[in-house]
């Protein structure tokens, strides 16, 4: 049903991440040189510049760092949604991602800073990639 914008390829930094999403995995990187957690995915480590990174799979659980409920937008694919919550979620493995927190009912009361959430892969009419969003645990 949802019709969100899809990722576009070729895009070499994020391809492996999105391949993981298709398989139900939330992938992130750690640096083989300095051990930093790297996210968004990039071929180089954003802490030390090393080109040697390991891909890991997150458990998909985290905490809402902050959020906003969008009441007015002119974005194709979102105008039909009504109010929806955009959020930064801090995953337990130590990376922060922009995402949506999906709740039953009114997001202005259903989403809170500090809330524990788990990833949920929302299938899309707009293309082959589901979109990883989060729901309260």
């Amino acid at each position: 049903m949802p019709n969100r914008p899809q990722p576009h390829f070729p895009e070499p930094d994020t391809k492996h991440y999105w391949d993981g999403v298709k398989e139900g995995e939330l992938r992130y990187q750690t640096c083989n040189s300095c051990n930093a957690v790297n996210f968004y995915p990039t071929a180089h480590c954003q802490a030390c510049g090393s080109g040697s990174q390991a891909w890991k799979v997150s458990k998909g659980e985290g905490t809402v760092y902050t959020f906003s409920v969008v009441m007015q937008n002119r974005i194709p694919g979102f105008q039909e949604l009504g109010a929806y919550a955009v959020a930064y979620v801090d995953l337990d493995e130590g990376f922060r991602m922009l995402t949506n927190v999906l709740v039953d009912g009114d997001p202005t009361t259903g989403v809170k800073i500090g809330q524990r959430v788990r990833v949920d892969y929302e299938k899309q009419d707009s293309g082959e990639y589901p979109i990883p969003a989060f729901r309260p645990i």
Partner: protein, 393 residues
């Protein structure tokens, strides 16, 4: 005073119209440059340094000089969003001090209102990139990004909607004294072209929680120009020079575990004050990029006007208006109530200059030191901070 005197703002112009159908951005840039050079008493052919953010049809580093008919010796096309003009000023100061440029100019033109751009409520598009691939699927509007900073600031420090609304109230008070701002609000069909109260702000509709309409800047047409010159050139200009005595540049972005309530201004501000040899407590006028109330609040803290987390108490007593004791904010009416065609950083420098010349419509008597701080990009994601400290003799 012991501050350095290496470069001066000699000429300014703010394009008067906020709705300008049938005019191109490039025409706004050219007309504004002519008016700013006239303000300084300088000629078109005096320009030898061209600084530009790449705005305008077919402009930028390759096209702008050809359009204007200039032969600059230095071309700087720094584009870092709305703070580009603070960066241009910093670079002009550097280039003039090095003897590479005598007359530097930067211009701005935009038809955002006439072309119905959805700056605040549209999404992030463009081709595939490492960033858009990770963000476009989530429908994060520009306003919701800033709203996430406000949400976190309120959570982390107890900042209230009432306190933040004081920014909108003071700014509107200044706008009502500025005829061009009054015309702007009228032409853009504001519901109420009048002073507003904290209650008005709190009763305006929510655009993206917790940001309300009267906490958000307008979308207008507009533009302007700024002329910065060497001390030798400054001796013969028509108006009194306004000296560029310090500058700082920084960028910040989403980081794992980072504090979203701290902006790039925490780096650019102290650098600018250190170069200027002044402290925030000595500043008379703060021109802070008011894309939203939270932008001003965060940047006031980061520049050192109060401690991080204490801006609510700092602004909550309503002293930001020009006729109250203490720091004065955005005396032209700001982006909230005067002019926001997309990149308002230029107007911060223009109004700071007016104050230090004694030409503002909300003049602070005896103003000697001003800071202009631009914030470009998204406060809650990738953004830049550019700080410029200005002084009158």
């Amino acid at each position: 005073m012991s501050q350095s005197r290496q470069a001066a703002i000699a000429g300014i112009h703010e394009y008067p119209l906020r709705v300008a159908p049938g005019v191109s951005a490039m025409q706004i840039k050219a007309a504004s440059l002519k008016a700013a050079l006239d303000d300084a008493g300088l000629k078109w052919s005096d320009v030898d340094g061209l600084y530009d953010a790449g705005d305008g049809e077919g402009g930028g580093g390759l096209g702008l000089a050809a359009y204007l008919g200039l032969k600059p010796r230095v071309i700087d096309t720094t584009q870092v969003g709305g703070s580009s003009y603070e960066f241009h000023t910093a670079h002009a100061l550097r280039d003039i001090a090095a003897g590479r440029v005598r007359v530097a100019v930067t211009t701005y033109g935009s038809t955002a209102a006439s072309s119905r751009m959805a700056i605040g409520t549209g999404g992030r598009f463009g081709g595939a990139s490492w960033q858009t691939n990770m963000e476009a699927p989530y429908g994060s509007t520009l306003i919701s990004n800033y709203a996430m900073v406000k949400q976190r600031h309120m959570h982390q420090y107890g900042t209230t909607n009432e306190q933040l609304a004081e920014i909108s109230v003071a700014t509107r008070k200044h706008a009502m004294r500025n005829p061009e701002a009054v015309k702007a609000m009228t032409d853009l069909q504001f519901v109420k072209v009048d002073n507003i109260t904290v209650a008005d702000v709190l009763e305006s509709r929510v655009v993206a929680t917790p940001l309300r309409l009267l906490e958000c800047c307008m979308v207008s047409d507009g533009g302007g120009a700024l002329v910065i010159v060497s001390p030798e050139v400054a001796r013969d200009i028509k108006k009194k020079p306004v000296w560029v005595i310090g500058s700082g540049e920084a960028t910040k972005y989403r980081e794992n575990g980072g504090d979203i309530t701290v902006s790039a201004g925490a780096q650019s501000g102290p650098a600018a004050f250190a170069q200027a040899g002044v402290t925030p407590s000595g500043i008379d006028i703060a021109m802070i990029y008011d894309s939203f109330t939270i932008t001003v609040a965060t940047c006031l803290e980061d520049l050192g006007f109060c401690k991080k987390g204490e801006v609510g108490a700092f602004i909550g007593d309503g002293h930001l208006a020009f006729d109250k004791p203490g720091l004065t904010l955005n005396t032209d009416g700001g982006g909230l109530s005067s002019n926001h065609p997309g990149m308002r950083g230029l107007f911060l420098l223009l109004e700071a200059t007016r104050q230090l010349r004694g030409e503002s419509t909300s003049q602070v008597n005896g103003a000697k030191l001003a800071v202009a701080h631009g914030n470009g990009g998204l406060l809650g994601a990738t953004h830049t901070g550019g700080t410029v400290v200005l002084a009158a003799d």
